[in-house]
């Protein structure tokens, strides 16, 4: 199996009605999946361990990006990594089972929520150490450059990660070598419980974070990450540039996460759950959070497709019901699966 062989973004197709509905379907599937992960904490306490991070609020951005990809392309991300493989075609049963730590999981329960891998679909994994996967993307892009098949690597990361040295080192080389990589910063305005303007000199100065591209003589642009069509258009340009050997792009995609950074962090014994969003819990800024909720990209896109006549309301209901059923089924699969054998990791320490 060649890495990325079965990437299913359909990126070489035009954005007709069918593709738009496909995009909405993926957004809705991701949201369903995330909500199910979240509700597991209350409905099946103890099933999910450690730290999970949800993509709710970022679905439009994720799908707008993935929809531009074609077979052979590759994707890397941070620990906030549930959305990409879903859009790339990974099996949500295996994903949920992984998050539930089951033997049937995508990685047999060895990886967990932060470390999904599905290389056959082009997903090279989520790294848990902030910023450290940006050079991996550059390396994969170097491989793509040498292979000369016009393949591109897309690397997703957070606004906070752009303060890590790895960001700087990677973007300089990517630009210098004109690597076929697109760096997509999902700027959700927070690094955990720190607001961007408390940690980023551009943000503090009221400038977009895509300004950073200047330091690498690289294209940089900011897009409304709540609008999958706008994201798609931006990415089509960035990918064309990359495929043509004209070098990388830094895309700042403005999103807002609708859940807290992650579930509560605590030693065993303390029940894990999702606290309130930091805007409220730390900064007492309910207005900011509620305005973000009102802009929720999933209903927003549905409304648009229905209004534009691209998608009938009942068709929308039907695809949503199908997605819910899929995720019901994924959850059942995950719940019913057994835990891995205790010694099952030892075979994978070395290749």
């Amino acid at each position: 199996m060649v890495v990325g062989e079965t990437v299913d973004g359909g990126g070489r197709d035009a954005l007709g009605p069918e593709r738009l509905v496909w995009m909405y379907t993926q957004m809705y599937r991701i949201r369903q999946f995330e909500e199910r992960v979240k509700s597991t904490f209350t409905e099946h306490p103890g099933t999910i361990r450690g730290h999970t991070h949800l993509a709710d609020g970022a679905e439009a951005s994720i799908v707008g990006c993935i929809a531009t990809l074609a077979p052979g392309d590759q994707v890397l991300s941070s620990y906030r990594c549930h959305g990409y493989p879903i859009a790339l075609g990974s099996d949500t049963k295996l994903m949920m089972a992984e998050i539930y730590g089951k033997a049937t999981g995508l990685c047999g329960g060895l990886g967990g929520s932060m470390h999904l891998y599905d290389p056959a679909r082009g997903f090279l994994g989520g790294s848990g150490i902030v910023g450290q996967h940006l050079p991996h993307a550059a390396g994969a892009a170097w491989a793509a450059q040498i292979r000369r098949r016009g393949e591109v690597v897309v690397c997703f990361f957070g606004d906070g990660a752009s303060k890590q040295g790895a960001f700087h080192e990677s973007l300089n080389i990517a630009s210098l070598w004109k690597l076929p990589v697109v760096y997509v910063m999902e700027n959700n305005r927070y690094n955990a419980s720190t607001r961007s303007d408390q940690e980023d000199a551009n943000a503090a100065a009221g400038e977009p974070l895509s300004t950073k591209a200047t330091a690498y003589s690289m294209e940089g642009t900011t897009v409304d990450g709540g609008d999958p069509v706008a994201v798609h258009a931006t990415m089509v340009e960035a990918l064309a540039r990359a495929r043509a050997g004209e070098g990388p792009t830094l895309v700042e995609s403005l999103v807002y996460r609708l859940s807290a950074h992650g579930n509560l962090i605590a030693p065993p014994g303390v029940p894990l759950h999702y606290p309130e969003h930091e805007a409220i819990a730390i900064f007492g800024n309910r207005a900011e959070y509620e305005s973000a909720l009102r802009g929720d990209p999933v209903p927003r896109f549905r409304h648009r497709l229905v209004t534009d006549g691209v998608l009938g309301a009942s068709d929308a209901d039907a695809l949503e019901a199908a997605a819910r059923e899929e995720i019901d089924e994924s959850q059942r699969f995950a719940l019913d699966s057994r835990l891995p054998e205790p010694d099952s990791g030892l075979a994978y320490v070395y290749a």
């Binding site: 990685c107 329960g109 060895l110 967990g112 929520s113 065993p268 835990l339």
Partner: protein, 326 residues
């Protein structure tokens, strides 16, 4: 007199008291003091308490620079792995400067990080990396196992004139314990005998001190008397207390959450194999993590870690006792 508080509160109590006592003490790091009602910010103000970006190299490096310029920074790093992106700043900058300058500068700073969060945090966040840092000249490494030591070692760390890596254990954060009232400083390089015993010596650190104590309790019920020693700082390492104990017991079991070849256990075994050889009546036994990354899923995670049963088995084997059927 004493008060009962969780381990994590003991750490903060020490930092707060030292900040009260000495205005050169600074406290900073990621995702702290972001809101105006943060208690440290309120007590000490934004000059001395600051949130940083996700920039460990800059954070540790700034602690070094502020220390050279006369301050005593405490940098909060959260998980031990996050020091890796800045390992040069931990082992090859501040720890060398006093030496290279023949004493012209010194670098009093504390790097605070937690380790060993083995409850589903998976491969990249659960490491027991302290062994990497224990042989670095110029650097001190503290690893408290109780709230009292957590406070006392932090107090000493802040007062020390060298860079100190202070590793708390994530699984212990909420463990409550007695902490002496008033000023409480635990000296570096002085191991603590957490339980006295005469048949066998266990040396353990951090969370595994409690594993060792549980094993000792189980064994006591069978008439086996185990001494449990916690070095508390692994640099400097109090080899003398360990040697004295082994001289009495003749038997040594080492317990360590790290993998075998990255463990404090191996270093202690080596010291005793050289300096306490004549006391030993049986092979030294090491109960460490198996040579594997830590998995996400609980059975696989558990499997590779040291636990009470493995410690009891090692003690039985070392003393030549018949194992008790489970």
């Amino acid at each position: 007199m004493s008060h009962v508080i969780p381990y994590v509160a003991a750490i903060h109590e020490a930092i707060r008291e030292e900040m009260d006592r000495d205005e050169r003490v600074l406290y900073f790091g990621q995702n702290m003091a972001t809101s105006p009602d943060d208690p440290f910010l309120q007590a000490f103000g934004p000059d001395r308490v600051r949130v940083t970006p996700i920039s460990e190299t800059a954070e540790i490096g700034m602690a070094t620079g502020a220390a050279m310029a006369g301050y005593r920074p405490v940098v909060e790093l959260y998980m031990a792995e996050f020091t890796l992106v800045a390992a040069d700043q931990v082992v090859n900058e501040g720890s060398r400067f006093h030496f290279m300058s023949r004493g012209a500068v010194s670098v009093p700073m504390v790097m605070v990080a937690g380790y060993g969060f083995t409850c589903g945090w998976a491969g990249q966040h659960t490491g027991s990396l302290y062994g990497m840092f224990m042989g670095v000249p110029g650097l001190k490494v503290a690893m408290p196992s109780t709230p009292a030591d957590a406070k006392g070692l932090m107090t000493t760390a802040i007062r020390d004139d060298n860079p100190v890596l202070y590793f708390h254990h994530y699984l212990l954060l909420l463990t409550e314990g007695e902490v002496p009232d008033g000023e409480h400083a635990v000296p570096f390089g002085v191991a603590d005998v957490k339980r006295e015993g005469s048949d066998l010596t266990i040396v353990a650190t951090g969370h595994t001190v409690h594993t060792a104590l549980a094993a000792a309790e189980t064994l006591a019920r069978r008439g086996v008397s185990v001494e449990v020693i916690d070095p508390r700082t692994i640099a400097p390492l109090d080899v003398d207390t360990i040697l004295a104990s082994v001289a009495r017991t003749g038997h040594l079991v080492l317990v360590d959450q790290a993998t075998r070849h990255a463990s404090v256990a191996a270093v202690v075994a080596a010291e005793v194999a050289e300096l306490g050889f004549s006391s030993l009546e049986a092979p030294i036994s090491m109960v460490t993590a198996l040579d594997s990354s830590i998995a996400y899923s609980q059975p696989v995670e558990d499997y590779v870690l040291p636990d009470e049963h493995k410690v009891v088995t090692a003690v039985e084997k070392t003393l030549g006792l018949a194992p008790v059927p489970a």
